[in-house]
Structures are given as structure tokens and as C-alpha cells.
Symmetry: C2
Subunit: 488 residues, 2 copies
């Protein structure tokens, strides 16, 4: 006998409608189906499937694919987990290949955290925040202070914190780039605030278009939205863009003009293939130097993470954000909010320390670190361009030159018959395309509609983390068959 | 020149009012001041302070104090962090004291997670959820399924998830025990939902009082609150209670009668000194067996964590919750909600696996594990009773016999002059008392008002984690002086 739903306290009709409204395609239905395929193949079943491996190109999860962890980081982490090993320094060094700087760093970190099993301060371990501050100073050439740094549970929890503070009421609006990483729209949905979309300029390497931002802002304001902040993701997700200095400065100027908090999601800051990464913090300090007084009140929150880059330690959930120009009373509310969840994972915090304070030239672990770091960087770049080249072979597919992050986000043009078929199946056309790709190839990508895109355009996002070129071949072949099937 | 506040986008007057409304005393002003004292002493300053160490008795943070991690857990963790060590099994075993079961477990976990640096499924690593299910089956004698288990970032994020789903609108109410761990009231404040307080019965070892629950419920309903769930913390925080079976069954029957979701916070399930721990899941299954059909629709979510007990690995932020009787459509929304934050820390998930699947008799690591586990358990029990005895010496202090968790929550009666002085300083009387205690002794406890208490009563919560008895002596001495100072 089945239970009538009304007999329960909770049903889909009476839970939090704002949670229901949230969408998060990166781990949505496509990802779930790909996991089913993976499980089937792992059990030795799935002889009926037209592929023998599943390629998770839907998510930037480097170590699930080919990327090896940086040895220095993991050696230190092993000592943090089992400090008793430090009583056998000779064995570590003579038999296990640990260098003296590994041992020193572990001792220092243990002094700072006492135990990676203990709660830290909610804002993060003070000594680790000092390392991060020094890193920011080296990166930008401007001072940074540990008191303005908040370690977080990956960058995602930092975004969650910032949006929680800013979203005052249902009419509070946040400017979000489209396409965007859906963490932003999902969190705004949960918070019952307004996402004010502004479109990125695909034709200009997915740069920010100030005119588009200005128009979105004005339209929102005219509709009664109280626009309080602007989000920028640089390098771009899902776009793979790397913003030039002029785009960054234009956004900062606009934010100052309209009194908007700037939320700079900079988790891909080391994944840059074209030009160099310029942080919003540096650009803001440059502007403040150029025009004294004019930008003093601008509030900037910039986020970073151990999940991406050559670190790729997303499973450790480490990240931080830096606040610039925030009112101390507001910062105190941020502190209180994060303290409710006690503290970010302490080992994740240690990875933030290691990322921001890696071995330097002359130190025993430097050479290996450098060769691992460069190897990962070059591998990613090569794969990005190989994929980009594959897209060139595909009819109706156009892609911007890979510039940064871990993604390509090509436009696809598919035959009207395919669009009709998608409609019949109750799916967005690009989602339909991605399901077909998954079913035919085992390659899981995310439909552009999961990130937002200009009306009438279709895209998909793929990482270029998976090793080899065999899987790109599968995509090319699938696309050809797909176009054949639906050609008019 | 100071910046006028209105020049910024955000001020204390225009941020999220629900975040502002949240209170979280466990890491509030007292804790902040104690950290300042600690920092001062660490720098060799603080000659003016009447103490030379700070005792953080405000928070259940075992490894910040005396508790050593369980060796088996940390040995496995060291191999998960640096799998290259597994290439030197002989060194591990012959020179570093690792047993073969440590190596086997690490290999198995690595197979399950691929890398602790990779994202896992949002619900948690499937193999780890299987271990947890087996643990629940052994504990309760009833089946459990990995598909109903959700690994979380400590139990706190599990609570956050559940309340996010349940709180539909500002009139949604959740029955919360008073005194309570302030995670509940703080999260409800952020969610703009109603906390429906029900008072625990101090005179009956802080048991649940069904009459009190019934009255709170009726009052809330008559005021237009849509009461959807009841929270129980067992063993109790801050009360230190350990609920008997009849209290648990009474709550379950009431929840079934009123169609309430039961949220059972059972993170202290191994910290039980009196009687035995009975899980809400087991009690529910017992009831379902006794009265077939009657409890089939009851929804239960029970939470557990690696932070407490003899594990004490709070810095690793591992936990899980089990759903019983939830509508699959609601469970799907829970999945989507947690997927927005990607996954809990993977190493924290591994600690959940280790906690729920420790070495058993006959395995190489068992003896050491058992002696460490028992040593921690007995040490905590001894300290609880030593503290309890110290309270007996204190005028106007009364405390229930220690029964479970990591806390004692004595009542204090302080002279009217002290209450007046507190009023003058704009503080709650017990908060005033706690600040005085901190300033005089360096011992940081939390005022009862931070957890809620019956009108006209005063309490404080202290952990009994700190080693030795010297610090309890400080409290006794302080209390004597305090009572002298304010005596009429």
C-alpha cells in the first residue's frame, strides 16, 4: 500500500519555495545520468552502451581526471594528519623522499593550528591569514591585512556568505554576468533576491560590455530593484575568458558611480593562457592612486580557492575572500554569520596556506614543485587548444580562443528538426543536444541553458581536464551523426 | 578624513536584517575577548592579567585542549593525503609502526574516493555511505540504506540544509528545546522563520516534558504559526542530559499526532555516562513494530558528526544525516540544495567512514584503538564528575548529575547587587557573571542566556574537556570572591 503524500509533514508543495526555485545544472539531471552510466560500467554491465568509459567534462574536478596533486602539498598534509611521523624525521627524509622544507612547514602549520582536528577561529587560523595577506601583497604590489581575510569552505561558501549579507529584501538585486556559474543564480533564488543579468560579449572573447551592464542596471532600477552589487567571474566560468585591464577598470568605475559592492570571483586566477591575470584588488588600488579620493568608498570582495589552478584540491574545500572598504559593522555581521557554522575545514585552510606560500627558488622542494606546476599548466593549455581545434572541425560550432579557466563554451547551431525534437521531449535544445552526446559518447558536458545565454543562442560548457584526445574524437563523431540525423 | 558611512553601498542599516537578528553566543563577545587574552599571553605580554593561561571551556573543541586524535584514524588519513607512501609499505610497517589494517583501509578508501582532493558526489562518497549504513544497522538492529544518507560538512551544515528545506514562509515554526545549542535559533533567524521554544525540565535531569511541548505547540498554533518540525538534542547540548526511552517515544508519538518532522541531533551519541544511548531511529522502528501502520508517515532526520565523542575531529568538518520517511520529491530538493555547495570535505567524509567502521577485535589496530577510545571516555567522565563536585562547593550553584555530551549547565543564583551591576553595564546577569569569570580566571564559559533559559533563572555552560583540576579551582575561587563582592 502506498502512503498518501498528505500524510507526511513535507511535500513538494509545502517546502521552501525559494529552494525549489533554485537551479544548479552542473550537478543536475545530465550529471546524475552520467553517474548511472559510470556505475553500470563499473559493475561490468553496460554492454549495450556505445562507449566504455564516462568522461566527466561537466565539472572542474581536476583530480577526478588526470591531474596529480602537487607532491609538496600532500607531503605536508600527511604530516599534519599524523604528526607522530615527525618523530621519525630520518625515515621521512632518508627512506620516503621528504625534504627538510616539508618537515619545517608541517611543524610550523601544526604550531599555528595546534591540530587539524580542532576548530579554528571562524575567520580562519591567524597565521594562515598572514600567509595569504603576504601572497596578495606579492601578487598585487599593494598591502593586504589578515584582519580583512576570511577563510572559507571553498569559494562557494564565501559567495554564499557575501550574498546572505547583501540581500536585504526581495527587491535587492545583484548584477550577474550571463553566462555565469550557476552558484550565483541558485543562491539568489534561495535568498529570494533578484538576479539582474548582464550579457557578456561573446564576439569580444566574452569580455564585459559596459553598455550592457549599464542597460541592465537601468532597467532593473526602473522596475524597482535595489541593485546593490555586481558579480564578475575572471577568468570566466563558463566562458573561459580572461579580462583585460580596461574591462576591469570600467566595471570598478561603474560600481563606484552606482555605489555597488564588487564581488570578484577570481578562483581561476592562475589558469590564464592569454595576457596576465589582473586582480580587481590591484586594479582598484591603481585607480585609487590615479584618482585620489574617488574610489575610497568602493567595497570589493574578492574570492580565491584551492580547488582550481594547478592546485586542484577541490575535495579539501579550501578558499578565502578578502574584503576591501567594508564598514567594520558589516564585517562584524559577516564574522557572526560564518561563526554559526564554526569554521572552514582546517586542513582545507592549510591547503590555502600551501597554495599561497609554495616553495620558492633555493628551497629543497622547489624544483619538483616547479616542474609539477609547469607540467599541469602546460598540459591544460595543450588540451584546451586541442579541444579548440576539434571544435573547428565541427559544423555549426564556433568557439572563442581559449584564454583562461578550465572551460570552453562553444556556440552551437543545430538543425530546426533537432530543435523540434527537443521541444517534443520537453527539453531546451542545447540540453537535448547534451543528453544525446552523453548517450552516444559517455561524455558529460553542461548545456548553455544551465548558465544562461542570449535568447536564440545555444552553447555547451566542457572542461578540458580529461586526458588524451580520444574523447574529443567521440564528440566530433557524435556531432557529425547528430547533424546528419536532423538535417532537413 | 573619515569616510561618511552613507558613501558605502552597505551599512549596518541596509544589510540582511535576518542575519543581523541571528545570535550565536558560543563564538560571541566572550569568546572574542578570551582570544584577545590568549594572543596577549602568547606574545609574552599580559603581565597585568591575573592568570597565565586561557581555558576555552566555551566550545566543545576536544583537540584544542587535551584530547589526542585516535592513532588509527590519523594514520589512515596520512596515507590518504600522500598515497605515494603506500609504495613504501615496508617502511610504514617496519619503521613507522603502521599496521596492515591501516594500509588496507587507506587503499580501500582511495579506491572509493579516487583522491581526497577531488569533489565527491554531493550526497557523499557511495562506499562511505555504505559503511555508515552498516554502522546504523549494527547500532539499532534495523536496516539503513546508503540512499537515505547525506554526508555533510559537520552536523551544522546538515541542520542548515534541513531547516532551509522545511522553512517555507515567515510563519513556519520549528519547536526547539530551551536551552538549546544556538545553531538552531540562529539558523531560524537567518531563514526568517519562527522558533517555537519548549522548555526542558531541569529538575528531571533536563528531560523533555511532553506537557511543555504540547503547550508550546498549541500556543504557537493559536498565534498563527505553522509548526512543521521538532528539534531534539540528545545527548543534550548545553544540558548534558541523556534522554530515557520513554522521553524519546513520547516525542515521536507527539510528532506523529501533529505531523511534525523530527530532527534528532545525536552528535554526542557516544558521550553517554548514564544509561545507554537510544537513537530516535531505533525508537521509531520499535514503535512501528509495536503499532503497525501508526508511525509509517513520520519523517525523521537524525544527525551525527565526527566532531564529538571519542573522535573529536571537529576541524575536519565531517558529519552525516539520515532521512527516514521523507517524500522522494522532497529528498530530491535536499540533493539539489546541497549540490549548490558541491560536496562536503572529502577527508571529513573519510573520517565519517573511520568513525563508523573502526578496527574490531582481532584486527591489528584494535588494541591500540580500544585503549585510546576507553582512555578518552574515562578521562571525560572523570573530569565531568570532578567539575560536578567542584560546583557542589559553590554557593548558589546547582548542577544536574553529568549524564552525557561534553557539557555541564549549572544554575547560578547571584546576589541582587550583581544583577543591578549587570543592568548598569547593559548585560544579562549571567553574561555579566561570565565576563567577570573570564577577566578573573582566564576561563571562558558561555552564559545561559546564550542558549535560552526559563525566565528568572541563570546558568552557564562549560565543557569538561580541559585537563587537570587547576582551572576548576580558579572557578571556585572566583565564585567565592564574586559572591563576597556583591553580597548585600
Amino acid at each position: 500500500m502506498s502512503t498518501p503524500q498528505s500524510a507526511r509533514a513535507l511535500s513538494i508543495n509545502n517546502i521552501n519555495p525559494h529552494v525549489k526555485a533554485a537551479k544548479y545544472a552542473v550537478r543536475g539531471e545530465l550529471a546524475v545520468r552520467s553517474e548511472e552510466y559510470r556505475a553500470k560500467l563499473a559493475k561490468g554491465e553496460g554492454k549495450d552502451l556505445p562507449f566504455d568509459t564516462v568522461i566527466a567534462a561537466n565539472i572542474g574536478n581536476p583530480q577526478q581526471l588526470d591531474q596529480k596533486p602537487i607532491t609538496f602539498f600532500r607531503q605536508v598534509a600527511s604530516l599534519l594528519e599524523n604528526p607522530l611521523l615527525l618523530e621519525h624525521e630520518d625515515v621521512l627524509i632518508n627512506s620516503l623522499g621528504y625534504k627538510s622544507d616539508v618537515v619545517e612547514r608541517a611543524r610550523w602549520l601544526l604550531k599555528e593550528v595546534k591540530s587539524v582536528g580542532a576548530y579554528s577561529q571562524s575567520q580562519g587560523v591567524p597565521g594562515i591569514r598572514e600567509s595569504v595577506a603576504k601572497f596578495i601583497e606579492r601578487r598585487d604590489g599593494y598591502p593586504a591585512s589578515p584582519k580583512d581575510l576570511y577563510l572559507s569552505n571553498g569559494a562557494s561558501s564565501g559567495v554564499n556568505t557575501l550574498l546572505h549579507i547583501i540581500c536585504q529584501k526581495p527587491s535587492t538585486g545583484i548584477l550577474v554576468p550571463i553566462p555565469q556559474y550557476p552558484l550565483y543564480t541558485a543562491t539568489l533564488a534561495v535568498l529570494d533576491a533578484v538576479c539582474v543579468p548582464y550579457y557578456l560579449e561573446e564576439a569580444r572573447a566574452w569580455g564585459t560590455d559596459l553598455e550592457a551592464i549599464r542597460n541592465s542596471y537601468s532597467k532593473a532600477v526602473s522596475e524597482g530593484t535595489d541593485v546593490k552589487a555586481i558579480v564578475i567571474i575572471n577568468p570566466g566560468n563558463p566562458t573561459g575568458a580572461s579580462l583585460p585591464a580596461e574591462d576591469i577598470k570600467a566595471v570598478l568605475k561603474f560600481a563606484a558611480e552606482k555605489k555597488l559592492v564588487v564581488i570578484a570571483d577570481e578562483v581561476y586566477q592562475t589558469n590564464v593562457f592569454i595576457g596576465e591575470f589582473i586582480s580587481f584588488k590591484k586594479a582598484l588600488r591603481d585607480l585609487q592612486k590615479e584618482s585620489p579620493g574617488e574610489f575610497d568608498n568602493l567595497e570589493l570582495a574578492s574570492l580565491h580557492s584551492v580547488s582550481k589552478g594547478m592546485v586542484g584540491e577541490c575535495g579539501h574545500r579550501g578558499g578565502y575572500f578578502e574584503l576591501v572598504g567594508f564598514d567594520p559593522e558589516v564585517a562584524a555581521e559577516i564574522y557572526k554569520f560564518i561563526s554559526i557554522q564554526l569554521c572552514p575545514p582546517v586542513l582545507g585552510q592549510c591547503f590555502v596556506e600551501l597554495m599561497t606560500h609554495p616553495p620558492v627558488e633555493g628551497e629543497p622542494s622547489y624544483e619538483l614543485y616547479k616542474s609539477e606546476f609547469d607540467g599541469i599548466f602546460n598540459g591544460l593549455k595543450e588540451r584546451a587548444y586541442a579541444l579548440f581545434d576539434a571544435f573547428k572541425q565541427m559544423e555549426g560550432v564556433e568557439c572563442q580562443t581559449p584564454a583562461g579557466s578550465m572551460y570552453l563554451f562553444p556556440t552551437i547551431t543545430i538543425p530546426p528538426k533537432a530543435v523540434e525534437q527537443a521541444k517534443k521531449e520537453g527539453r531546451q535544445p542545447d540540453e537535448f543536444y547534451c543528453f544525446r552526446m552523453l548517450d552516444a559518447t559517455g561524455v558529460c558536458v553542461v548545456a548553455g541553458s544551465g548558465f544562461g545565454q542570449k535568447e536564440g543562442t545555444l552553447h555547451f560548457r566542457t572542461t578540458f581536464l580529461a586526458p588524451g584526445t580520444e574523447w574529443t574524437g567521440r564528440i566530433v563523431k557524435f556531432h557529425q551523426d547528430f547533424m546528419e540525423e536532423f538535417r532537413g
